[in-house]
């Protein structure tokens, strides 16, 4: 919220907010030993595998790490193309 106000006023995001966001990403990768590059690779592999069975839109696939306490969770959001859309296409 304060970041939004700052942007409206043309000011910079408070540095603590930047620190927190950077730390969030760093900690996920430190805890899991997975690099951002690995996640991209994993996403490509998932798209390829799933596409063999179901028609999906590769551009709408999202892979991210979520934190629950000190537990890390890999979340994949893979929207399936509906039959109607397929007919139009």
């Amino acid at each position: 919220m304060s970041g939004f106000v700052d942007r409206l006023l043309g000011r910079e995001t408070p540095s603590a907010d930047q620190a927190k966001e950077r730390l969030k990403l760093v900690l996920v990768h430190d805890r899991t030993d997975l690099s951002p590059g690995f996640l991209d690779q994993l996403k490509d592999d998932l798209i390829q595998t799933i596409s063999q069975h179901i028609e999906i839109d590769p551009s709408s696939v999202r892979i991210e790490m979520a934190q629950e306490g000190r537990q890390q969770r890999l979340i994949a959001d893979i929207p399936i193309k509906s039959i109607q859309k397929r007919r139009i296409n």
Binding site: S2, P14, S15, A16, D17, A19, K20, R22, L23, K24, V26, L27, D30, R31, Q67, G69, R70
Partner: protein, 267 residues
């Protein structure tokens, strides 16, 4: 007596482990508890100077482990607090002189004579850290609201869990309320959310810590020091006292709010 072994560690150096060890020990001793602080940082001895006991060292941790003295001979009694003792680290010896099992054995012997055995861990994740946590019943992780200290704290928390010494408790040190208020320092809430472990206490940044260290007097004995009060609260929580946690809201906590009451133009 069945003493409890508490290890204070951090990953990163310079965040306040030694000051926390000396002062938690002093605060417990001031409450009549029998306390021994052990400096486990071999080669980089410092707990002695923070406690003002550097001129009284005869034997050290390595002398005990290598059988050159009895435990009792190595204990240095504090000048002010009759119930506070120090086992100093060796300054010149090889770091591998002490093993985790040596520390377990030493602490098991100390348990019968002391209520609290407080171990000051070296920075890092090497042998010295493993020595320090091996005998621990409870591990305190101390950090600063600063990006590299939090990252290293997270790493050390993971290692404590994997050594089955968790769950560790968190102490956030050197919170600068002015910077928090300006949005230029992580809040205690931010740090807690990132590290996701239980909070034992928060210590504000306070020049009185430096002054006390210069004089070799624990800051918890200074009734006027805010940091001293915060560390006394941490020690009392260890004793089971239910002391409400200082407000850790994003407006900079209770100190921040008081600052703004005193200086309303500061916003």
């Amino acid at each position: 007596m069945t003493g409890k072994v508490v290890t204070i560690t951090s990953g990163k150096g310079g965040v306040g482990k030694t000051t926390a060890t000396a002062n938690i020990g002093a605060a417990l001793a001031a409450r009549g508890q029998k306390v021994v602080c052990i400096d486990a940082d071999i080669g980089l001895r410092n707990l002695d100077v923070v406690l003002g006991l550097e001129n009284r060292i005869v034997y050290d941790l390595v002398d005990i482990v290598e059988g050159r003295c009895r435990i009792r001979q190595s204990l240095i009694r504090d000048k002010r607090l009759n119930e506070l003792y120090l086992i100093p680290s060796a300054q010149t010896r090889d770091k591998s002189a002490v093993s985790p099992s040596d520390m377990v054995k030493l602490c098991d012997e100390l348990r019968s004579d002391f209520d609290w055995i407080i171990i000051d861990s070296p920075a890092g994740i090497e042998r010295g850290f493993r020595n320090a946590i091996a005998p621990a019943d409870l591990v305190l992780v101390i950090t600063n609201p600063e990006i590299s200290a939090v990252r290293d704290a997270d790493r050390i928390i993971g290692l404590i869990e994997s050594e089955e010494k968790g769950p560790a408790l968190l102490v956030i040190n050197r919170i600068n309320q002015e910077l928090v208020r300006k949005g230029d320092m992580l809040t205690a809430e931010d740090v807690l959310e990132l590290l996701a472990i239980e909070l034992l206490g928060m210590i504000p940044e306070d020049n009185s810590v430096l002054l006390s260290t210069n004089r070799g007097v624990p800051v918890v004995l200074d009734g006027k020091s805010r940091a001293g009060q915060a560390i006394r609260n941490i020690a009392y929580r260890l004793l089971g006292d239910s002391i409400p946690m200082e407000n850790i809201g994003e407006d900079g906590g209770f100190i921040g709010r008081i600052t703004r009451l005193i200086r309303p133009g500061g916003d």
